[in-house]
Amino acid sequence: MRRVRAARSWQLKTLSDRDTKTEYPNDSIRADNFRQIEHELAVSIETSERLLSKHNTIWKVVAGVLAILGTLVLLEMLARVSVCLIKPSQFGDPEYDSKYLIAREKLPAGTPCIYFLGTSYTSRGIYTDLIEDRLKRAGYPIVVRNLGCSGGYPMDVLFFLKEALRNSPGPFAIAYEVNHGGFNSTPEVINGHGKVFRESYLGGCEVSDWSHFKEADMWLKRNLYLVRYRAMFKKVLSSVPKYVFASDENVYRARTKSVHFESSPAGWAPVYPFLNDYVLTETMRLRQNLLGYLTPGSDGSKTKAKYDCLERVYELCRERHAPLLMVRIPMHPAFLKQCDRRMQVTAEQTAALFKQAADIEGATLIDIHDDQVDAHYVDCDHLNAQGAVAASNRIADALLTDDNKSLLQSLLGKGK
């Protein structure tokens, strides 16, 4: 301390000597600079004096740590409040969370289960509780779960399936959606989404036993909203200027705007609006670039990333000797016609293609695509609640035919 004081008095003396020297008598800027330096030096010496005080340093460290922790706690609380106010999902899509909850639900050991995988067509169009009920009444107590998810990215579906199999390791069958549309994104979109997905909470849920680092990461994601909903906060914060300046209340209320859904424990479908000509034409126009599920057309690489994931699903079935079903979901006849026209195939050829794909994979094809009732659709390719009930009944009927009863029996047999 004494040494610091001595240094201080020496330096101040030197500065004041320099200041009074007539080296720059008319240079006010230089004089100002000296005063500035003197002031800064005085401040820095004072600071170093304080720093040298051991007691003070310890308190400073403690105060610093407390300040940082306090801020983090405050931000975490803010995150929790924000999550309560907006729909909580790391994708801005609560459907992922609900599907994840279904996938994580543990079933008693040996319980047989059928998993429906697919896009929004499956997610909204198949009421698994209805199918489950029908099977149960027919003497097949098999659990049926809908893991279809809007957006239809195969990586999500694969993840949900793996998660479900990890939590419920009983015998299972997979019913995979096939149609003209879904999963038909470009590799860039699919791979980009895959990256987003892998880095998200759901992606991180796949904890390997060997990775303590990842377990720690998952612990944080489970317990801290700030970590878990990080991507969602980014999305919300990035949209702030849009919310601030937008006049249309729908823009800033979009996140909390409620839509009337008729919910089902494992599936849902919008009741309103029913299909009309305008919606049909408009949705057909929007969907026209999303065709080609089994016919990649001139660009064969377009769907490669998708097929890689599908292949993994098939592998999972083969590894565990699980039966595979392919479900051809209903679509509006006008839309199907447009699909066939654009892909330059006839309806018969399309049907043959699906059959061929099912035969190659050793799968059972359940073809219920020919629902021609307008009142069953909400747009050109999504079923409404009434359509979902009809489709689910038809699937249950198909499962309970004599041809497929053996499949159900084998599932039950394995379960025992």
Binding site: A67, L75, F233, F245
Partner: protein, 483 residues
């Protein structure tokens, strides 16, 4: 390794811990090793390119320094500079030459025997380290002492914070800082380094990347957007470019301060320049300084008569333009910079001639100053269009939209009438963000500097969390990493 990744933060933390644990004289060799690891994470084969060029440059510098014969010295200097430019030219411009050749051949109706395109990957940071190598060689030729050994020279080139996109440092600026080993940074320096790092990340991920979300779709397909949208996108791109590069420089300088090595500043509120020459004194200062010392002055600088000065200015800035990239858009950019700055020199000479002793009074008048600022700002923002556009067609489309002031007025009126304030609001905010730099710095210094210690830590924590949130999912690399 992108600066905005967890890997880089982890790399920085591990390197710093080792740096603290090692004795002073082993610290810069450690940083050299870390720099090689940093570069090798991007490409191992290109490490060989750097090793080769740095070895040749070092040997050339020794020949230049030790040999008394002017002929030998000159040959060694030009040989080494030529080799550096040849490597840069091959990696950066060869495909552009092939494009020109292919167009020429087809125009002349001659069969083209050369390939139309080669798959050449550009080594990261090559434009920057080539300039540093040239500055070192020229300095040694001019009488400066060369590096005492190859490792010391190699460290100057490879030091990772400035390797990829500058600031362009000179050997005699960096060498004294590690000549006698590197000491640990003081608490104040460490704090300053952390502050720069945080601000850098904030500029990049919070401001620049969000500006990109507005400008990218418009530059991808300008035909599909209204005049007002294009104005908004152009302003947002100016913000994106500035804050992206400013963010990078802050991170580079901040990371370097953690290792007690100071890198020069690179920006001084360039968008507040009052003429284009002044802009180049404020934008990428280390590059401007390099161009001034190693190109403009050797060309004759402003010592000759006005047309020659203008030609020197034009050539210097034309090279600055094409240094940014190989393509016709960069040729246009270089020409634009050359013309605007050379034009300013001519205007200044004329103004001084006309106004004579009144020149100072007129130029310091607030109205003149305001007009000068507005014109310069417009020219700078316009240069952003030339920089960002992927093709000459896009450039022309955007400029064509920008000059339609009547359509702009109609768009603004319609937007106000419909109550759609998003674009008007964004443009206003961007304008404010772009020009308010000096005032924000002043407020920052007045409010933040005297704030209590714990409050500073709290602000820093909140900012760090904000940056971390904005890094979620995907963060695009820095714009200047491609050069």
């Amino acid at each position: 390794m992108n600066f905005v990744t967890v890997q880089f933060v982890a790399f920085l933390a591990v390197t710093w811990l080792l740096f603290v644990l090692l004795p002073g004289r082993f610290r810069w060799p450690l940083l050299l090793l870390a720099s090689y690891v940093f570069y090798a994470t991007w490409s191992i084969p290109f490490v060989a390119v750097i090793l080769l060029t740095t070895s040749i440059d070092y040997i050339a510098s020794l020949i230049v320094h030790k040999n008394a014969s002017p002929g030998v010295r000159k040959s060694a200097l030009w040989g080494a500079i030529g080799l550096n430019l040849l490597v840069l030219g091959f990696f950066k411009y060869f495909n552009f030459f092939l494009d020109i050749n292919s167009s020429l051949m087809s125009a002349l109706g001659v069969t083209n025997k050369l390939p139309a395109h080669l798959n050449i990957l550009l080594p990261l940071g090559i434009s920057y380290y080539t300039f540093e190598a040239i500055s070192y060689l020229v300095d040694v030729y001019r009488g400066a002492k060369p590096a005492p050994n190859w490792l010391a020279y190699n460290f100057y080139i490879m030091y990772f914070p400035h390797l990829i996109a500058g600031p362009i440092v000179r050997f005699n600026e960096l060498w004294p800082q590690y000549r006698e080993g590197i000491r640990l940074p003081s608490v104040a320096r460490f704090g300053k380094g952390m502050e720069l790092l945080l601000l850098g990340y904030f500029f990049k991920v919070v401001i620049a990347d969000n500006c990109a979300t507005v400008s990218d779709p418009v530059f991808a397909n300008p035909h599909a957007f209204s005049v007002l949208s294009i104005y908004t996108a152009v302003l947002c791109f100016a913000g994106q470019l500035y804050f992206d590069f400013l963010g990078y420089t802050h991170i580079a300088r901040g990371a370097s301060l953690l290792f007690n090595l100071e890198l020069p500043i690179n920006f001084n509120h360039p968008l507040n320049a009052n003429n284009m020459a002044n802009f180049w004194q404020r934008w990428q200062i280390s590059l401007s300084r390099w161009l001034h010392d190693y190109l403009y002055v050797p060309l004759g600088g402003s010592r000759k008569f006005l047309p020659r000065t203008m030609l020197n200015v034009f050539l210097t800035l034309f090279i600055a333009g094409i240094w940014h990239g190989a393509g016709w858009t960069f040729v246009v950019l270089g020409t634009y910079f050359g013309c605007t700055v050379a034009g300013y020199h001519a205007y200044r000479r004329l103004r001084k001639k006309v106004l004579k002793s009144n020149d100072r009074a007129v130029t310091s008048h607030p109205v003149y100053s305001a007009v000068a600022h507005v014109i310069t700002f417009t020219l700078i923002v316009l240069s952003g269009v030339l920089f960002r556009s992927q093709s000459l067609d896009t450039e022309l489309t955007i400029i064509n939209h920008l000059v339609r002031l009547r359509s702009l007025f109609a768009d603004v009126t319609a937007a106000i009438g419909n109550g759609a304030f998003t674009e008007i609001g964004l443009s206003t905010v961007m304008l404010f963000v772009l020009v308010s730099g000096p005032y924000v710095v002043r407020v920052y210094e007045r409010l933040y500097a005297p704030a209590p210690y714990w409050l500073k830590l709290q602000t820093a924590t909140a900012m760090a969390v904000l940056c971390w949130i904005f890094c979620a999912q995907y963060t695009p690399p820095f714009i200047y990493f491609q050069f």
